[in-house]
Amino acid sequence: MVALLVHLKLTLLRNSLRRSVWRTVGLVIAMLYALGIVVGVLVGLVALRATSTALTGDVTVVAFSLLTLGWLAMSLLVFGMDETVDPSRFALLPVRARELLPGLFVAGLIGSPGLATVLVALGFVITWARDVALAAAAAVAAPLGVATCFLAARFATSALASVLSSRRFRDFAFAVLALVGAGLGIGGNLIGSSLGAEGGQPLQALGRVAAALGWTPFGWAWSLPADVARGRWGDAGLRLVLALALVAVLWWAWGHFLGLRLVQPLESGGSAARIKQGTWVARLYPATPAGAVAERTLRYWRRDPRYLAGVAGLLIAPVVVVVTQLSNPEGSAAVVAFAPVILAPLIGISVAQDVSYDGTAVWLHISTGISGAADRTGRVLSTLTIFTPLLLVLLVLSVGLSGQWRLLVPVTALTVGLATIGLGVGCFVGSLWQWPAPPPGANPFQRGNSGGLPALLSFSVTTGLTLVLGLPTVALVVASYWESWLGYLALVVGALSGLLVLRIGIVAGGRVLDRTWPEVMLAVSEKSA
């Protein structure tokens, strides 16, 4: 059964590679990226051999506990990090959960996250292989630790599977993930600056964190060699028993929930809730094709988790900048004031990827024969409706918090200029490249679902071109540092060049769409590649 399931997993992986060149390229890049991280970690672990066992212990306990925690958090939030071998597919076969467990365990470790974890765990053994006792402790700890990572993740997802499979929760999880990302960014910065402020005792702080993590379930196994190195055999014995018990309990519980899932495979779905008819959205735009597109995309900004996560993701950077600069006594007020400028050139990206997000549903635009310009205009209108208030609030907040009101004019000039230029560029770029994006509510990190190269290309060309076209405004804003009246000129130039680029983007992008609608349809279809 183990060999069979491993073979199944390998076949599925190979076939998914065969489906498209883009996918293969994307996967290879992702793997190179993962490999880069793994190699970096391995080098670090080998380098630790040159340091004391105390430092090695603190570093490895913290790092590997966080890795275990990461497995749990990622599989809960990014449900089904790897559903290539989905247990509920076995529901129709005459097999018992207990027979499937070993095979699913091994098959689950095959794939980038599993392999990376196994490799890093090997590095853990290498760094501890300094004498026989330490090597033995590490050799016992590593497999236990890897098993804990994997089993904790599988136990949590299978226990929560019925909740996780509902569309509502997945929508919610997507937004939560973005918020957690923002929280980690801010939290990490705050901890970093507060540790730095304590007076340069990072090693002691690390020791305290390691001691605390070592007694959580995430650190039991990984702390074994450190205990042995310190000669605390009692602690080592206790933690070994705890780690073994944890793995046994997780194994049993995973099997239990897997058994449940084999007899009641999950149907995704849930109660169909009624949506109140929103009349104000319908009155916001004129009753034209462009107005209809604006109305529909505005509804999507609220109902499609990908757009919600997009807004949250775009807001992360400016908010992180404002919070960390304000909390840091040496923070720069000018940097706080210019925070909205980080957001401005990025809003064009949402227009650039809009058609890909529509996916094959865009057939409706083609079949109704609406003009490309109307399509572009509608998408710009809804994006402006979302981001104008956001940018205004951010502008007032950041300039207000910085207390540098004289910067209001140049910051506004850059924000308005880059935002409108970005929208125009996004309109045009969005008509050039589309890719098959995961449908709303699907797992955004599912293997092979990412846009891969075309998405990356679209992103970099949009932001790059926006910055290039924004150069006159940027130059005037820089010059206003010496001659403040140039700030007003920058405002005029920014607004005018923005409107010009927006107009060109809508017209030229619309023409491209009018000419290539069928090719757009092909590009967003999964089958195309």
């Binding site: 569309r167 009624r274 109140k276 008819q277 109305e295 529909r296 509804r299 079949s367 109704t368 069928p518």
Partner: protein, 256 residues
């Protein structure tokens, strides 16, 4: 009078696979036309090229005299389309989706409201008006797709597998809508692989296999005295395997 739909010499290849090969088809105005063929015959590819969703490698498509590829706006305004295997804007409610299609088709808003009400009622979707389309069952999704194809009162309806996943009661509702539509002067082109359905509903049909039209004409001319099922099997060249095949499947022949 121009044919409702006229396909001339359509070609389409996907890589080395030739999906549609030199396809000619003439659909007379006022007919309920069935396009039948086995799986992978090229029905969906043909209909996609006729509706402007897929660019043909060669050949042309005309709707009531308007060339779909030379004058797409004029041709598309005359057509109502229900494609198969593509997504809808399913984060809208049924009512919002209909309004969206209506506005894209430049139907006056008061007409959209009254037509939506009529269509939802005729298709038994009134209950689902304020529910997101993503929550709909497969049959309901088909029906809202049909409503979207009808909202601008087109002259020609092109429907890909309109009865798939639709329950018998709703199916009868759709049949009467289509019959009414044709008797009012409209033309329907629908694909299907259920022969009984085509036999009972359509008056003209074409049999397609491997990207070619094998036979086209009135229902009676094609079935030529036998059933459509029998005639279809003859045309696509199906040889029924005899009784000796799969003998191990017979419960009586094994001990267990």
């Amino acid at each position: 009078m121009a044919a409702a739909l006229s396909l001339v010499g359509l070609h389409k290849s996907f890589g080395s696979k030739r999906a549609v090969v030199d396809l000619f088809l003439e659909v007379p105005t006022g007919s309920l036309f069935g396009l039948v063929g086995p799986n992978g015959a090229g029905k969906t590819t043909t209909l996609s090229m006729a509706t402007g969703l897929l660019r043909p490698d060669a050949g042309s498509a005309r709707v009531l005299g308007r060339d779909v590829w030379a004058d797409p706006a004029a041709a598309k305004a005359l057509m109502g389309v229900l494609p198969d295997g593509v997504r809808l804007f399913d984060r809208l409610t049924g009512g919002e989706l209909l309004r969206y299609v209506g506005l894209l088709r430049k139907v006056p808003p008061p007409d959209i409201a009254s037509r939506s009400r009529d269509l939802l009622e005729a298709l038994g979707l009134t209950e689902g008006r304020d529910t997101l389309v993503v929550e709909y069952s497969a049959g309901m999704t088909k029906k809202i797709g049909l409503a979207c194809a009808l909202i601008h009162a087109p002259r020609l309806l092109i429907l890909d597998e309109p009865f798939e996943a639709v329950d018998p009661v709703s199916g009868e509702g759709i049949r009467s809508i289509l019959r009414n539509y044709v008797s009012g002067g409209g033309t329907v082109v629908m694909s299907s692989h259920v022969m009984e359905l085509v036999e009972s509903l359509c008056d003209e049909l074409a049999v397609v296999a491997q990207g070619r039209v094998l036979a086209a004409g009135t229902l009676d001319a094609i079935r030529a005295g036998t059933t459509l099922q029998q005639r279809f099997l003859e045309l696509v060249g199906f040889q029924a395997s005899g009784e000796e095949a799969l003998t191990w499947l017979r419960s009586s022949s094994t001990s267990s």
